[in-house]
Every structure is written in C-alpha cells, then in structure tokens.
C-alpha cells in the first residue's frame, strides 16, 4: 500500500488516496470490527449513479458524527492519477477516499457480502460484529442518513 498526495491548486486542502492492489491488505486495514460505525461506499468515477449519490455520503461524513465514511473507489490503478485524483479534487470530497484496484473480483466480492452481484453503487455498514450490506442507490441525503441511523439505533 502507498499514498499518493495531491494538492488542490492554491487551496490548503489536499486529497490523500491510499491504494490497495490486493483485497487482503484492504480487508486488514479497512474492515475493522471496533467501536466505530463505518459506512463504506463502493463506487467508481465511471459509475453515473455512484457519482450522483457521492454528495450524500460527503454530507453524511460532515453531518453525522456517529459514523466514519469511507469511499472505496473501484477504478483501475492506471486511472488513479488521470481520473480519480482530479475527480476527488473537483468534487472537493473531504471524506476518506481509497482505491481498491484488485481485479480478481470473483475472489473477493463474496467476502464483502454473499448477496453482492457486483453492481455498484453498493454500501456496507460495519459496527463491531454487526454488518449491513446493500447493492442499492440512495435518492437523497435524508434517505441515506435515515438508513444509517436505523442501523445504529437497532440494538
């Protein structure tokens, strides 16, 4: 794993994108069973419905202190510099963005969830041992926020 740093023009903001070329490394680093609630959204710069709902995840990151939002791009490794980094800068995403470029999908999609057919967007929520996965889109921020809060409040 390594980091690519990019600066956004004269702004002080910078996007830092961790790259995982193998699922195992991603699993160890990202899929944590600790005290936090993680909202992990799988997307790509080429996926129109994903791009449409990214602002809702960005808002969730800013507005909902109960969760950590991780935006997992499934773009190709070769598209990191020319597509992903400029995209993240342009959309001014402040939620954590990482790149998972392991193309051996059949080997790892089931490890996220058996029900995942491979379509994106898809979202995984983890809180300790509890998991909720859905291959679905969110129409607006409220829908996403209610969905996440329903998971958090269900004990």
């Amino acid at each position: 794993m390594f980091f690519v740093l990019t600066s956004m023009g004269c702004s002080k903001l910078s996007a830092q994108i961790a790259v995982y070329e193998k699922f195992d490394a991603f699993e160890k680093a990202i899929l944590k069973e600790d005290d936090n609630t993680y909202v992990i959204n799988f997307w790509a710069t080429w996926c129109a419905p994903c791009i449409k709902e990214l602002p809702y995840f960005e808002q969730l990151h800013k507005d909902n202190p109960k969760v950590k939002v991780i935006l997992v791009s499934l773009d190709s490794r070769k598209d990191l510099e020319k597509k992903l980094i400029p995209f993240v800068a342009k959309k001014q995403l402040t939620a954590e963005v990482i790149l998972l470029s392991d193309k051996d999908y059949n080997a790892w999609l089931d490890k996220i969830d058996d029900s995942w057919s491979g379509a994106i967007p898809a979202t995984l929520i983890i809180s300790g041992k509890r998991k909720l996965f859905a291959e679905r889109e969110f129409e607006n921020f409220t829908e996403l926020n209610n969905y996440v809060n329903a998971f958090i409040n269900h004990n």
């Binding site: 080429w46 996926c47 051996d104 999908y105 029900s115 491979g118 967007p121 291959e135």
Partner: protein, 201 residues
Amino acid sequence: MKFLPLLILFFSSLFLGETTESNGYQPGDKATDFKLKSVDGKMYSMADYKDAKGFIVVFTCNTCPFAIKYEDRINAIAKKYKSKGYVLLAINPNDPEAQPADTFELMQEKAKEKGFAFPYLVDEGQKIYPQYGATKTPHVFLLDKNLIVKYIGSIDDNSDDASAVKEKYLENAIRALDNGTEPSPATTKAIGCSIKTKKKA
C-alpha cells in the same frame, strides 16, 4: 378500514425497494426463450437455432466501461464458438430513456463500428433481464441446447487487461458443456455497471 389494502401495498412496495436478493436463475434452472429485435431489424429467438449445442446470452450495452473493455473479447468468443455450434446472443437491457447512449440507433452504430459477429438485441420493455436475474453489464448466462442454465457470471478474471487473464471462466464453462461435464465454477462474480431503468414514480 378501507385504506388497509393500500397501506399494505405501500409497505410491501417499500420492502421490495429494499430487496437485495435477485430472483433470477441459478445453474440448473430452465431459461426463458425470447423474441427480440436485433440491430439488423430482424427478430431473434433461441428456438430459431435448431442445431445449436448451446447459447451464450450476454447482457451488455454501449456505454458501460466494463462492457466496452469486453466488447472485443465478446466478439472473439462469438466467432470462435459459432463454428462449434454455440450461439452468442447479446442483449442490451438498459432503458434508453434512462441511458440515452443506448438507443437502437446507437446500438446499430456500435455493432457496425465494432463488426459485431452476433445479434445485438434490444430488451424491449425490459422484460427479459429481470427473468434471467441480470443485474449489471456485462453479465453472462451459458445455456445448453435445452436452455438449462449451466454457467452465470463473468467472462474472465481481468476486466482491465485481456492479456493478464488467468481464468477464462466462460470459455472453460463452454468447454465443460461441450465435454458433457458441469462447469466449475458454475457461477462467478464481477463488478459491472448497474442496469439502467427509469425511476418509478
């Protein structure tokens, strides 16, 4: 309570919206035949191919980057297996109103530009893909001559780079079918673009 049925309908539709499990085919199921229009203006059905040993049904489209990365490979497979008795039929499941780059005219252009050696069919009214349980493009279903599903999934294990492929899942499955054995694996998974439908009111 007159409104109760309506309420039930409302809630059941909510739950339907939440469903993640698809109700499509599993290996061993019998697939439905179809009669769909191709880019040449003619209608195609699997029943038209009396001598076929099997069918490779590929849900694909004009626009998805994964479909584009695979279009040359799909064309090569269509050509390679035609002479062996396996018929490849591609179906575009996207609603052109939801994905304007998937109109019939643009499908014709794509087929001409890429020299598609197979029928490229329109899933008119989006009636076929839900029966198969296709969720994304590309999404492949291999059927035997009796339309029994033998393999579901991806073409191979590297969408990015055809030269880096280690497992040719689809071709291995065709070979197994040709040898009279069951494909293994019978299902694989891959990332793809969701099938585009108009938002229901």
